[in-house]
């Protein structure tokens, strides 16, 4: 039975530019279940990191509307003191760049110990050191006792990311937010780190929100996927449905633009135009319409909503129904869907 851990409801995160607020995350609603990896995919500027930071309450200057419900508490409208009790304990975060996420002047063991200390004031020092070494072993760092007293610059990128993960899981969080955890790493290291995150999840039954732009990572890790474009979720489905029957034009375009060995020699699909800047986002109508100008305006909804096309599979706007790429005929597109 799926158990809901975290519920994000109508979340709107706006940033102030000059005298106006502009929403980078615009009315996002989603749920994270226990023992699940929910991937959030999109290109830079789509609002996926802003969403992650909002959940963790890391935006200090943004205006946040809506609710983020965790165990009947609303993270979006919570005092900092209360939030600090949750962060690092029930909510863990893995940052993208392990070099900037770690304090360069502090031994890594101390840094992990700090997380433990903040939430378990009564823990003795010896106990803490023991626990840190246990954590370092858990994230696959060889010679943990030695690594304990090393500084971040003495470790390789993969090892640093393991330290960051050790910090994030130090207090067995129920919700783990991973913001591009492997983007800064080499391919072989990436697969090791992903395996580690999966293993930890299976062990602790935590729910993981995985923010990434890499569809390969999504295919390997996710149980469910939410695709974001211009601050909104445009499609959400379980991972198999999303890769086998993607519906939204943006999802289909993204999948077509990655090099694929099975379609060798073919041109890659290019999405026309660019992601509009925050101030220039169209706030009305289908936000993706400008990038698919060959689709007739009548195909779009006036106020695009998420439609449930199959259980658990939601698609925004109606333009997916008759969508086709410019180089294929409408007929072919129809057959592709059915």
């Amino acid at each position: 039975m799926t158990e809901e851990l975290l519920k994000v409801q109508h979340l709107k995160t706006s940033f102030r530019i000059k005298d106006d607020y502009y929403a980078a995350v615009d009315d996002v609603t989603l749920t994270l279940n226990k023992n699940e990896v929910l991937a959030i995919v999109g290109e830079s500027g789509c609002g996926k990191s802003a969403l992650a930071f909002s959940i963790m309450g890391l935006h200090t200057k943004a205006k946040i509307e809506g609710n983020i419900l965790y165990k009947d508490q609303d993270l979006a409208n919570m005092s900092l003191a209360k939030l600090n009790k949750l962060r690092g304990k029930d909510l863990g975060m893995i940052f993208q760049d392990p070099l900037t996420a770690l304090n360069p002047l502090m031994e890594v063991g101390e840094q992990i110990g700090e997380v433990l200390m903040l939430h378990n004031k009564n823990m003795s020092k010896t106990k803490r050191v023991e626990k840190v070494i246990e954590l370092l072993n858990k994230v696959g760092i060889p010679r943990a006792a030695h690594t304990f007293s090393q500084f971040p610059h003495e470790l390789s990128g993969g090892m640093r990311q393991r330290v960051v993960i050790a910090m994030a899981i130090a207090n067995d969080p129920e919700v783990l937010v991973a913001d591009e955890p492997t983007t800064a790493l080499d391919a072989t290291i990436q697969s090791q780190i992903l395996d580690l995150i999966k293993e930890l999840k299976d062990g602790s039954q935590a729910g993981i929100i995985l923010i990434t732009h890499d569809l390969g990572v999504v295919a390997e890790m996710a149980d469910r996927v939410a695709v974001m474009y211009a601050g909104q979720i445009v499609e959400i489905a379980d991972v198999h449905t999303l890769f086998d029957h993607p519906l939204h034009p943006y999802t289909r375009s993204l999948l077509n633009s990655i090099p694929n060995a099975e379609r060798e020699g073919e041109k890659l699909h290019v999405i026309q135009g660019i992601v509009p800047a925050l101030q220039k986002l169209p706030r009305k109508g289908c936000r993706f319409s400008a990038r698919i100008p060959w689709i007739d305006a009548s195909e779009h909804e006036e106020n695009p909503e998420l439609h449930e096309v199959a259980p658990g599979h939601f698609v925004r706007c109606t333009c997916y129904k008759n969508f086709h790429f410019p180089d294929e005929s409408k007929e072919a597109a129809h057959h592709g869907i059915s």
């Binding site: 830079s44 890769f243 633009s257 990655i258 090099p259 060995a261 060798e264 699909h269 660019i274």
Partner: protein
């Protein structure tokens, strides 16, 4: 006759130490690599960070000093010609990884793209402007953008400005150092498509440096895999991906994420197998210093670093 021949190239960086800054050792960034490029083809140089792939590219174009070895371009030795403004400098250009740091933020697009023209060709102001506009059009930017600054463009557009600069002198060889690593997938697609188009149009030869094997497979005809400054394997794209021989290559190929979620379990199992094989046979593939052996041919085009038999 090969188009570009690199023979036993070595690039070592001194490590300075002590209070007098004496050289106490060397980092062997590139430690004896030999390969050649064919005209009109794309050669992929692959490796993890620190494998020496970028240093190799930079040494060829003269941005790093060469410790030993020879580089021949169209049968002419160019190893030590870099300092002079030789023809070679015109014929070989580079596309850099990060379009955010490789364009001078204080210069207008016109000055950025015209810089190589000013160095090598004496054009009048109006001729220069015309050439720059033609180049911008070729890379799909509006000719009016010549007065803009780099920050006014998106990542993909910036990378295309970098490409416009690289092709300004009609080069024969372009060394592309991770040209799409900093870009989003849809923008990446745009730049890759465009690079293929101008390759045909201008009969360019590419040396494509990268770590994303999906992109490398899509772009390259021939691939060399580097590890710790040496080649571990070289072959055609097909040979490398469907029949990798060296355990390091196998591991690299196994690490590529598959975009089919159905193959997930299969892939995990496969990776585990490769990892076991890697650990068990590590000593058969690497010498006592953990470096790769000399390349041995297994077919006409396929070379693998294995210990000499006997």
């Amino acid at each position: 006759m090969a188009f570009l021949e690199v023979e036993d190239l070595k690039v070592h960086f001194p490590i300075k130490g002590g209070i007098f800054g004496r050289t106490v050792g060397h980092v062997k960034a590139v430690d004896g690599v030999t390969f050649s490029l064919e005209k009109g083809k794309t050669y992929g140089l692959v490796g993890e960070s620190g494998s020496g792939k970028t240093t190799t590219g930079r040494a060829i174009i003269g941005l790093n000093n060469i410790t030993a070895g020879k580089i021949k371009f169209q049968d002419k030795e160019i190893t030590n010609l870099h300092k002079s403004k030789s023809e070679f400098r015109k014929d070989v250009q580079m596309i850099f990884q990060d379009p955010y740091s490789s364009l001078n933020p204080k210069k207008r697009v016109r000055d950025i793209v015209a810089e190589p023209l000013r160095n090598f060709e004496s054009l009048s102001k109006s001729e220069e402007k015309k050439r720059v506009q033609e180049l911008l059009e070729l890379v799909g930017l509006s000719p009016e953008s010549i007065l803009k600054y780099p920050h006014e463009f998106s990542g993909g557009q910036r990378q295309r400005i970098g490409i416009a600069r690289a092709i300004a002198l009609k080069p024969k060889l372009i060394i592309a150092d991770e040209p799409v690593s900093a870009l989003d997938v849809s923008v990446q697609a745009q730049v890759l498509n465009f690079m293929q188009d101008i390759q045909k149009e201008l009969d360019l030869t590419y040396m494509f440096i990268g770590h994303d094997l999906g992109v490398i497979r899509h772009m390259c005809d021939q691939i060399g895999i580097m590890y710790k400054g040496r080649f571990v394997e070289e072959g055609t794209t097909d040979e490398i991906f469907t029949n990798p021989q060296h355990i390091y290559t196998k591991r690299l190929v196994a690490a590529i994420p598959d975009i089919d979620p159905k193959k997930r379990d299969e892939l995990v199992k496969f990776r585990e197998e490769v990892r076991m094989e890697y650990e068990q046979s590590y000593n058969d593939y690497f010498d006592k210093d953990g470096l790769a052996y000399q390349l041995q041919p297994v077919s006409d085009t396929h070379l693998v670093a294995l210990p000499e038999k006997g």
